[in-house]
Amino acid sequence: MAALKIKKGATSHSAYNLRPNFSDVVEKHTLAVLVENEPGALARVIGLFSGRGYNIDSLTVAEVDHTGHLSRITIVTSGTPQVIEQIKAQVGRIVPVHEVHDLTVEGPSVERELAIFKVVGKGEQRVEALRLADIFRANVVDSTLESFVFEITGAPDKIDAFAELMRPLGLADVARTGVAALARGV
């Protein structure tokens, strides 16, 4: 089975961090799952989440290693520490899964999401939307006399904030990719 490269806690002597603290506080965790890029691999992961009643806040998947035939699934999930540990163990035992990383506990990581916003408006509203887009470093990727399409990249909360600001300015449509994440450093 894939090695669960989970950072060892102070209480863990084993390869697995099986002595989590059992608080009842629901935490949000970002998991990176390296999985063989074979038919049905994503369905296995998603089916596990729905079948066992786990939450998926966001999920992205794409092949990241063409020669090694590996895909990377980034899952943002939430649950108590016990549930998070279960999720990691359950995902880890799916046969084509190579590695499961809990980026939330393994150290600092960067999270990025891309979103596209369509904002429809005229006059001062339109100018304000453009001004705010500039502040958020969003790019205009399409424009008509009555609309803009902005492209924005950032951590999910930055995108949430931008969406909130655009709402009163004529926000008409949103597409978001979900989170991609990597550990910082070497």
């Binding site: 089975m1 697995y16 099986l18 002595r19 049905g40 089916g47 079948g51 880890g92 035992r93 046969v95």
Partner: protein
Amino acid sequence: MKRQMTGAKMIVQALIDQGVDTVFGYPGGAVLPIYDEVFQQNSIKHVLVRHEQGAVHAAEGYARSTGKPGVVLVTSGPGATNAVTGLTDALLDSIPLVVLTGQVPTFMIGSDAFQEADTVGITRPCTKHNWLVKETDTLGATLHEAFHVATHGRPGPVLIDIPKDVQFATGHYESPKPSTSRYQPQVKGDMAEITELVAAMETAKRPIFYTGGGVINSGPAASQLLRELVDATGFPITSTLMGLGAYPASGDKWLGMLGMHGLYEANMAMHDCDLMINIGARFDDRITGVIDSFSPKSTKAHIDIDPSSINKVIRIDIPIVGDVAHVLEDLLKVWKSRGRKTNSEAVAKWWQQIEEWRSIDCLKFNQSGKVIKPQHALARLEALTKDHDRYITTEVGQHQMWAAQYLGFEEPNRWMTSGGLGTMGYGFPASIGVQMAHPEALVINVAGEASWLMNMQEMGTAMQFGLPVKQFILNNERLGMVRQWQELLHGERYSQSWSEALPDFVKLAEAFGAKGIICSDPDDLDDAIMEMINHDGPVIFDCLVEKHENCFPMIPSGKAHNEMLLPGDHETQGVIDAKGSVLV
């Protein structure tokens, strides 16, 4: 060595190379090329079942009684969907199976072709892993990988879906090589954790071993090491339904099965222990009762090959991920090297307490009058068959629990029952699989009449292959366990829980050309059982028993281990509260 052959031939060749001697199956359009190859060889016996569910349960019986993977071959569409119950059963009980299904040709997949079903989609959540093979060149390697995955780590069922054009086409085949698979689960336990468990064992005052099917799955060496460990430490041992036989029922450290219908002394000891050593069990809800009051005073160690079993329901203090045999070997080594210490004075006191619980004699029953009590029927079956080379399968319900309580198992792999999924209809086909693997043994399926009817078509299989399986039916004309719960929980409103229009089982047996025996008088029971044992051929034994007997002891749902109902607790109304009644 690479060879060219058709996909169909490759399948048979791979089975031979994997050491398969028996396949359970049923032909159909999408597996005709494979059946054509089966026809042209003599290495593998094919057992033609009467329904695909029967094939999977038979393969489970074969696997559970031999430790080898069971192999199933069925067609596409309905063949595959009929196999789903068996796959789920094997997944929940961790039984290694390799199931081969035919599929419509690759160019027709997705067109709603005749007998097309999305087999890998349907079976994804009820297999350990599955594959759809689209090229004949990858078929051989996939077959070998399937056997590897089914039997390594926590065993389980795997499925390979093979389109008909892949069976016809020619491709490269390579014989299996020593494991090149990436799938290599950890088998050695962490030494620091093992040492910590040894330290806990040295000082424990009220220790208990709680063992499960993982000991049996780990192989005969695990049972041997378990026996050595129990006898050397003198600690009491209990087991789940799945683990019966790993430690002998005649052993003096044996407390009997634990759980919902487990023995009083076993459950009380689990509740009051200060060190619980779980070996290859998974804290199933039939075992724990209500979680909040499960063994509140104990340090809990858990040995399991599947990391996801640990901390799933019960918080574990000493987790050890590994194969039971590997871990027990290291555990014994460490314990011996540290001087074979136990807190023998305290453990002796613990045994005194256990003996007190045991003196309640929770399995006592009173056979009087002219009606056979089901417990009595099983006690007599035990007395008259225990010295035989005996294998027991069961269906699901009251009779299953009574069988677990009143039959004693001295060796592993002698007891085949549907534990996790609770599949009525499991026992009869399973007995066929066991008998195929052990032609000379006495194979008995302890059944209820309702469960047995669910797969009774397999009488044809038993007759065709001359399998002398004994169907010991405790006939109470009720769905006994459902009836019991309706009595305890639903105001004695016995909704749909009786068996009406039952067949005459003797005539049914005779219609198939088998022997039928009916027994209703306790005085005739021994002779009737002997007649069953001595008959060289399949027997349907219709044992008419007390219709309203309840299965005790019982932990009512929503209650703790120390709140058991015992036989003679006649005040059973209202023992399950509103919170407990939502539990299954």
